[in-house]
Structures are given as structure tokens and as C-alpha cells.
């Protein structure tokens, strides 16, 4: 899968925005909002911070659209901006002491696959995810939830492929340990 699902429609929208048609940007916002929101909510742990990071990423992308030198990869480029915004927002949240708090409202719109898997199970997963370091959580989400290749992850994060593989491996190990421990309690 990956994040390059865009085609000519992205190219056309970017071309129109660069040509002065600001309203064309709404198409791109609507197209990428939900997918980027998933990453931001899981990365930051609450909807308020996620929306702040998401809005900031969209506005920054608009302001810097001339620097997106391949409009067909607008989605990947935007994703990179969001990854950095989440880092900044997460660091700021950590400074003010709100680190990955639970936010039930963030899951209000979730389409639950089955009643048995929701509520408690989700809370435990999100709690476990929140106990990972920022780097491990970021690597795990990009690899396993967003389904990116390591090379793409390296471009987005600035980390090497080997470092990312290590982070994903450690994240998996820690998640397993945390969830096993939770099952014992």
C-alpha cells in the first residue's frame, strides 16, 4: 500500500493552488484529513493535540507548496510535514506535563469492527502505545499501522533504515511485554 495513492487529481489540485486557486486546496485537505488524523491521534494520544498538529501541517504545506517538487507525491510530502509537527506538538505537550493522556472523544468516530474487541481492549492498546518512547511509537505506527516501507520511513523521519528497523523491533518487544503484563494483572 504505502502513502503514494495519489494520482493526477493531486497533481491537478496542486497545479491549481499554485496557480492562485486557493479553494482547490480544500480538495487536498478533505482527501488526506482522516488518514493523517489517525496517525496524529495515535502518535499524540489525544484529539486536541492531534487536530492542532494536523491543522498546522496543512497550513504549512500550503505555505510551502512550491517546495513540493513532485505533485504526484504530495501525500508523502504532506505526511513528512505531519510527522515533524507531531514531534513538535508532542514535545510541547510533554513540557506542559500532558503526555499521552486518554481522550475518549478521540474515538467517537471510530468504526468498531466488533463489540468484543472494543472498549477495554482498545484502551489497553492505546495505553500500551503511550508507554513507548516517541521514537519507538513513531516507528511502530509508520511501519505497522501506516504500512510504509523502511525507505519511505527513512525519508520522512531522517533516521537510517537500520535505526528504524531497530526501533520497530524494540517497539514490538516492549508492546508485547507491556500487554503481557497487563494480562497478568
Amino acid at each position: 500500500m504505502g502513502i503514494e495513492r495519489v494520482g493526477t487529481s493531486d497533481v491537478e489540485a496542486v497545479r491549481r493552488v499554485l496557480g492562485g486557486d486557493t479553494d482547490a486546496y480544500a480538495t487536498l485537505v478533505a482527501r488526506y484529513r482522516d488518514r493523517l488524523a489517525r496517525y496524529a491521534v495515535h502518535m499524540l494520544g489525544n484529539r486536541e493535540d492531534a487536530e492542532e498538529a494536523l491543522q498546522d501541517a496543512f497550513v504549512r504545506a500550503y505555505r510551502s507548496l512550491e517546495r513540493c517538487d513532485d505533485a504526484a507525491r504530495f501525500g508523502a510530502w504532506l505526511y513528512g510535514i505531519l510527522v515533524n509537527r507531531c514531534r513538535t506538538t508532542g514535545a510541547r505537550a510533554a513540557k506542559r506535563g500532558r503526555v499521552f493522556v486518554r481522550d475518549e472523544a478521540a474515538l467517537n468516530g471510530v468504526a468498531h469492527a466488533s463489540a468484543a474487541e472494543q472498549t477495554e481492549g482498545e484502551d489497553v492498546v492505546r495505553w500500551a502505545l503511550g508507554r513507548l518512547t516517541t521514537e519507538y511509537r513513531e516507528a511502530f505506527l509508520l511501519k505497522h499501522v501506516e504500512d510504509l516501507e523502511y525507505e519511505e520511513m527513512a525519508r520522512l523521519t531522517g533516521a537510517s533504515v537500520s535505526a528504524l528497523k531497530m526501533r520497530v523491533k524494540r517497539a514490538r518487544e516492549q508492546l508485547q511485554a507491556i500487554l503481557r503484563e497487563a494480562e497478568r494483572v
Binding site: 496557480g19 492562485g20 486557493t22 478533505a30 517546495r67 510535514i81 515533524n84 471510530v110
Partner: protein, 179 residues
Amino acid sequence: MFEPDEELIGRVVRQLRRPVTVDAGLDARVMEQVRRLPPRRAGGAAHAAWGWLTRPRTVPFLPLGALTVAAVFVAVVLWRPDRPSRPASMSEFGFVVVAPRATTVSLVGDFNDWDAARTPMQRVRKDESVWTAVIPLTPGRYRYAFLVDGVRWLADPAAPAARDDEYGAPSSVVTVGGS
């Protein structure tokens, strides 16, 4: 009894892959914010020029020449007191870069939307290898870089590197404090 590790991770991933929706008003807030920004200059020429300027190219590489160029790029950021006509919170900053072989140098950054045409740097007459630009900045954190001859991105070696540069080009950071 515990489930195998792969199943456990699979269950975690399935849960995390479910769609998450955010406030429906987010789109409107983004659009409201971008509409308040200065209008883009219509016309593909500027975009085409930007693409041409920033497109990676294969260029002949002469190690001695590269070392010489690298050795002379030294930059400093000079602070100048506010002018009376500026708002109290705004200070002027002089950006200086040494580029003896450059034909053009532009200062680009968050403060000018990374537009190479908006802040061309000027040669200092008494020393033609030195280029300067003075711009007013309000308190905040700004990323910036120098664009030499329209093709070479240079971070400021005298300033902190921007660690969160999401655009892929080297850049530096200047933080302007409040008064």
C-alpha cells in the same frame, strides 16, 4: 493462556488501523487560515522557475573547487536595534554570507515563504565576496537558508541547524526573543 506474539501484535495493529475521525470543522479552519495568507501570484512561471531551481541535477564535481567554496562560506547573523518606525516587537536582522563566486544569493525562510524572489541579498561594496540582507522580524522561531546562484541551498554554518526541517533541504534556525 497467552496468544502467540505475532497474533498479539496483529490484534494491536488491527485496532490501531481503524479509522479515526476528527472535528468536522477542521477543514474549514484550515481553509480560513490559508485564505488569510497573502494571495499566491498566479501563473505557472514562478512555480516552474522554482521547480527548475530546486530540481536535483548531476553536476561536474571538482574536489578542490568544492573545498574552496565550502571554506569561504561563513555566515553570521547580526542584530540591529529597532528603528523607530517599526512596531516595538519588531527588530531588524542582518544576514551575512560570504560567497565570492556567487552571481546571486537569496535569503529564503519561513519569513518570506521560502520565496527566492522576495529577499535578494546585496553585495557589500568594499568586499565583494560578502552578501547581506536586512529584514524585520517579530519574535518567533524562523528557519532559513541561503540560495546561491539559484541552485545551491546552504544552511548557515554559524547558526543552529534546523532539526525539524520537513522539506529535505538544509536550513538553519534563528530565534527572535521578545522585548
